[in-house]
Amino acid sequence: MASTRSQNQEPSRLVPIGLALPLVAFVLVTFVIPLGTMVVQSAYDPQVAQALPKTLDLLRDWNDSALPSSDVFETIASELISSREDRSIGKVATRVNRIKSGSRSVFAKTARRLERVEDTDLKTAMIEIDDRWEDIELWRAIRSAGQKFTARHYLRSVDLEPAQDGGIQQVSEDQRIYNTLYFRTVYVSLAVTVLCFLIGYPIAYAIASVSDSWAKILLVIVLVPFWTSLLVRTTSWLVLLQNQGVVNDVLVWIGLVSDDSRLALVHNMTGTLIAMTHVLLPFMILPLYAVMRSIPPDYMRAAASLGANPIEGFVKVYFPQSLPGVSAGCLLVFILSLGYYITPALVGGTKGQLISNMIAYHIQTSLNWGLAAAISVILLIGVFVCYFIFDRWVGIDKLKLG
């Protein structure tokens, strides 16, 4: 009996570890390593270094004020031909083109024609094929594209680039987009958070102060949108807010707006703000309600009996007690807004795009994956900082959804 008891009361630590291990391993492989890959991708770019290793070796000793020697031309000629065979030349061209735009076509064209050149003077031959080989800038671009580790994506993601003299400079004015987008993302997230708070606080207060059976019915009105697909909610706003949509029709019918001056409510910032507020509102209401439900009504009554009018009672007694819910709701809404992609992409038009839309653009359209990774890392750090501040101020364990 004694031995059975000790076995059951002090089971080995192996039991809980063994139970948790499968999911820990699963999360490591499906989540942590992918995020690590993303961080690597943002700073490590070995494609050019792998395609042109010998050329890059030679360029290391090149003094970059005059054209490289004919050795270098011969080496790059043979490496271009072999990279054309293993099809890595496209990536080399894309990569160099990002540093010196307009040089994409040089590589494929040269490699294709070089195969037919029998000349021994490859330097002259290459310059004959394309005179851009005489441009020292192109060679500098190749050398800098050959670095395996690069801060270029991070610089670019804050509108900077390496300067000719080795320093750092702002990119030309027409290419500065990212800093504006970070500010816009933070601004939209703050605006959505404030809107959700202003709409959500009275709603949560109302649910917390009515009888239990009413509270159940009102909660359903909050939970149905919460459980409804994001795409459905975004679609319905798109349909309601469009020029010939229900909202404009109603406004015209009431007479607030004339038929020929219908409001532009969608495909702009207004659309993004309205739809995001609607989508994120339950994330404000549920934590607020969870806290308010636990505030005893006696306190307000006590305040009233001590002579406070309802507003004083609310400001001095009730509101401070609801603050944990306020901060949890605001944190959730703010962080979710920072990473929002679908809603701005569908209802935001060009003016209502946020930083996540840029990440998706670089993943899917421009295929500049390093830059997409760098922007994602910056966004991830931003989110971590928010959690950290919240944890210091409020305590992350206060975060619950009901």
Binding site: I17, A20, T30, P225, T235, S236, W237, Q244, G339, A373
Partner: protein, 276 residues
């Protein structure tokens, strides 16, 4: 005088709350009748406002059934959702049992790790998943999406099962052991029935998370992996047709069913704890 002001303030508050509730629910209610529009418009036609039967039709619902793309999307959503939910529920329940075991080391650190996929913005998860899964050859495969969705769903299971375990009395297990039950039997016959509402609630959350997820599908999935939200996405971007509203209406009905199921499960969980 004072009384009139409070009365006015109270009415203003009620109006504000009513407007807030309207803002929450009206956008969903309005599109339901629009999905029965006989015309390809996104607003109420005069016939609809007159409740003329001719103005309503099921043509957009028929077009879902007739369109092979939508059929594929519905099949994919359920296939990926069910497989991902299965993985998330099994691994999540085991992990929750481990984390709530009295001898569990590093509990806080492990919970933080297991919850982290849920609190990371999904666009960032999608970028990482896109790079790593593609390099493993899981790009444009169902398996890749199932694994990614299982990873997103598992935290919900861990949280809901942990919540039911918090009220679980471990002496019940010792009682079972003293009556000669093996640990496995004690788990199966004693612990599992008590925590099962939490397990099912977590599974529902995980399924809903997969069913609604579109960013990872956009990045990682190909034409053959299109799910319902992915198909809605291209429907909205390319040629927006009222078929979308019909699908949206079906999804709202689905959301209500999920909500009812969660409510019933929570009731049975409370009942189980009260019984004990």
């Amino acid at each position: 005088m004072d009384y009139a002001i409070w009365k006015a303030a109270k009415i203003a508050f009620i109006v504000a709350v009513a407007l807030g509730f309207g803002f929450l629910i009206l956008p969903l209610i309005v599109i339901i009748p629009l999905s029965f529009n006989a015309e390809p418009y996104f607003t109420f036609t005069e016939g609809m406002l007159r409740f003329d039967g001719e103005a309503y039709s099921l043509r957009w619902y028929r077009s879902i059934i007739e369109n092979p793309e939508w059929r594929t999307a519905i099949g994919n959503s359920f296939l990926i959702g069910v497989c991902a939910t299965f993985i998330a529920t099994v691994l999540g329940t085991l992990a929750a049992l481990g984390l709530n075991h009295p001898m569990c080391p590093m509990r806080d650190a492990i919970s933080a790790l297991l919850i982290s996929p849920m609190v990371t913005p999904v666009i960032i998860v999608a970028v990482g998943v896109f790079f790593f899964y593609s390099s493993l050859g899981l790009g444009q495969t169902h398996l890749g999406l199932i694994l990614a969705h299982a990873m997103l769903g598992a935290p919900f299971v861990v949280i809901t099962v942990t919540a039911t375990l918090a009220g679980f009395d471990r002496t019940l297990l010792r009682a079972a052991a003293s009556l000669g039950a093996s640990p496995l039997t004690a788990f199966r016959r004693v612990q599992l029935p008590i925590i099962s509402p939490g397990v099912f609630t977590g599974a529902l959350f995980a399924f809903a998370a997969s069913f609604d997820e579109v960013v990872i599908v956009l990045f990682l999935g190909g034409v053959d992996q299109r799910t319902i939200p992915r198909q809605m996405w291209s429907g909205i971007r390319e040629e927006i047709s009222p078929t979308i509203l019909a699908i949206a209406t079906l999804l709202i009905v689905f959301a209500i069913l999920v909500l009812v199921a969660v409510e019933l499960l929570q009731r049975s969980s409370k009942a189980a704890q009260a019984q004990k």
